[in-house]
């Protein structure tokens, strides 16, 4: 079992408000980790620190063989030029709460953008691969639609295909179903379930406790910028040791 992601003492403040209070985390290849916690507990910020969309104030995140955004050099962490940071970031697929599909590109255009511009694939090659991915998320039939013509669940499935098209080592999901109407949550979770079964390494920030119980190899509960409890889903979700985790779960499940 080799390591995919390792966070070391990650701290992050916005102004005087400390959002992350020194977090450590290890995720192995093939593992599915679900991060739970009440709103404002710092889950999303932590996920955004992992792919360096937010820069930690101290500590660092190691992904797939290198430290995100830095290079150890003579006892200091030297900041990397932006091109090398982007090369690191593309190994992490990111799915956003609000989809962030490119508004004026078709579904297919969204999925081929990264492979063509960043990986330098030819159009035909990129499109063939994109159609496979769209088929996998059940959106091949809408390849020429624009995002504005899709439902939230459809947009999120396209966003997943777009992230997968970069062939990332790890997939990050930032509350992927929180902006969806209740009846659309299932189709997105179904796609994610398929990815998990296929052995994709996934870190999922979510409020879907049922999904975490069923799919996660491990769950982690964050409260007030700290990791309060981590372990197998059946243990953490059914017999939490930490009293604040117990309070959070009883509220979330009621």
């Amino acid at each position: 079992m080799s390591l995919a992601v390792k966070a070391v003492g990650v701290r992050k403040s916005f102004g005087s408000h400390e959002v992350l209070k020194g977090l450590d985390l290890e995720v192995a290849y093939g593992e599915v980790l679900c991060i739970l916690g009440p709103s404002g507990s710092g889950k999303s910020t932590f996920l955004r620190c992992i792919n360096h969309l937010e820069v930690p104030n101290s500590g660092y995140v190691w992904v797939d063989g290198s430290i995100m955004g830095y290079e150890p050099r003579g006892g200091v962490l030297q900041e990397l030029p932006v091109a090398r940071l982007r090369a690191q970031q593309r190994r992490l697929g990111m799915v956003f709460q609000h989809f962030n599909l490119f508004a004026y590109r078709t579904v297919l255009g969204n999925v081929i953008e990264g492979p063509m511009v960043v990986r330098g694939l030819r159009r035909a090659e990129a499109e063939a691969r994109a159609m496979q991915l769209l088929d996998q998320v059940g959106m091949a039939g809408r390849a020429s639609s624009y995002p504005a013509q899709l439902s939230g669940g459809q947009k999120q499935r396209v966003a997943i295909a777009r992230a997968l098209a970069m062939e990332p080592s790890v997939m990050l999901f930032d509350e992927p179903t929180s902006a969806l109407d209740p009846e659309l949550v299932g189709e997105v979770l179904e796609v994610m379930r398929g990815l998990a079964k296929g052995g994709t390494t996934m870190i999922v920030v979510t409020h879907e406790i049922g999904f975490a119980r069923e799919v996660a190899d491990r769950v982690l509960v964050m409260i007030d910028g700290e990791i309060r409890e981590t372990g197998k889903p059946e243990q953490v979700l059914s017999e939490p040791r930490d009293p604040r985790v117990r309070t959070f779960l009883s509220r979330a499940l009621s």
């Binding site: 593309r90 490119f102 004026y104 953008e113 960043v118």
Partner: protein, 305 residues
């Protein structure tokens, strides 16, 4: 409310005399619209009558409308406007992108450009460009150019530089605002795909910025067509200048000014139509994007919700 609780299709017993479902409906009469139309037409007729009876020789207007000098002048007007607008757009995008750069030197340089050229009158700038030879008698770039400034800065070049550089300072602010209104999530999505700042700007941010600022660019184009008349003051033979030279001789001042007005209106109308189709073309893919109807087809607009 009682009908809501009562799913039965039969009329509620509390309202025994409700009309049938297929009762015909009659639209509101809107007498105000008819009255205002009549008043408007009357006022318009009065205005037309006033001008028809006024001291204007309409035959002279008609005669000079297609005079060769005027047409050539309008050609210069169009050429100056197009070149100056192109220069303004290039400068606007260049400095607008610099305004959002991470490098503070670039940000300051762009700010300085806007400060100077937006902060002084465009007529003044035209005169300074036209007389720049007084400051720099020779234009000398080693190995490239060595000429007398008056030979380089012809009235045409001065007009294009003056109008274009001034317009660029306004468009810098327009572009900066446009870039700022592109959803932050779009940029983050591009970053997570590994796109560099340059790729993100070119592929994601600028195409959306262009859509956002198209109405402002249309304004610029219309404004530029009109501001090009200022070039008449630096001996550029565009339309207004041509008209002035004619009426200094024949004294038909108002007639020739009317000729210019007609051509300017024709030009700005064409630009507005072009802008409409451009915006509709770039609007595809936008939320709720059923094709808009052209205003010049005189269909009623949908009421604002």
């Amino acid at each position: 409310m009682s009908t809501l609780q009562n799913p039965s299709p039969a009329p509620s017993p509390h309202f025994p005399d409700l009309p049938r479902a297929d009762t015909p409906k009659r639209q509101l009469a809107h007498p105000g619209r008819w009255i205002s139309a009549v008043i408007g037409l009357a006022l318009l007729a009065l205005l037309v009558r006033a001008f028809a009876m006024g001291q204007i020789r309409w035959d002279v207007v008609g005669q000079f409308l297609t005079a060769r000098v005027i047409i050539v002048g309008f050609g210069w007007t169009l050429l100056i406007s197009a070149c100056a607008l192109a220069l303004g757009v290039v400068l606007g995008f260049a400095f607008g992108i610099m305004r959002t750069a991470a490098n503070p030197t670039l940000r300051l340089a762009a700010w300085l450009y806007v400060w100077i050229f937006r902060g002084t009158p465009v007529l003044l700038q035209l005169l300074i460009w036209f007389n720049i030879g007084l400051v720099f008698p020779r234009l000398y770039i080693p190995g490239l150019i060595d000429e007398r400034m008056v030979d380089v800065i012809t009235p045409f070049v001065a007009a294009v530089l003056g109008l274009g550089v001034n317009e660029g300072s306004y468009l810098t602010e327009v572009v900066r605002g446009g870039i700022g209104s592109v959803d932050r999530g779009q940029v983050e999505a591009a970053h997570t795909l590994g796109m560099t700042p340059g790729q993100t700007m070119r592929r994601i941010v600028l195409p959306q910025t262009l859509r956002l600022i198209l109405p402002a660019l249309g304004n610029s184009a219309v404004g530029m067509l009109k501001f090009s008349s200022l070039a008449a003051t630096i001996a550029m033979g565009e339309m207004l200048n041509a008209a002035q030279r004619i009426y200094f001789i024949n004294g038909a001042v108002i007639e020739l000014l009317f000729v210019c007005a007609i051509w300017y209106l024709a030009g700005t109308t064409m630009l507005s139509i072009g802008q409409f189709y451009l915006e509709r073309h770039f609007g595809r893919g936008a939320a709720g994007s059923e094709p808009r109807k052209p205003w010049f087809r005189m269909r009623p607009r949908r009421a604002a919700v």
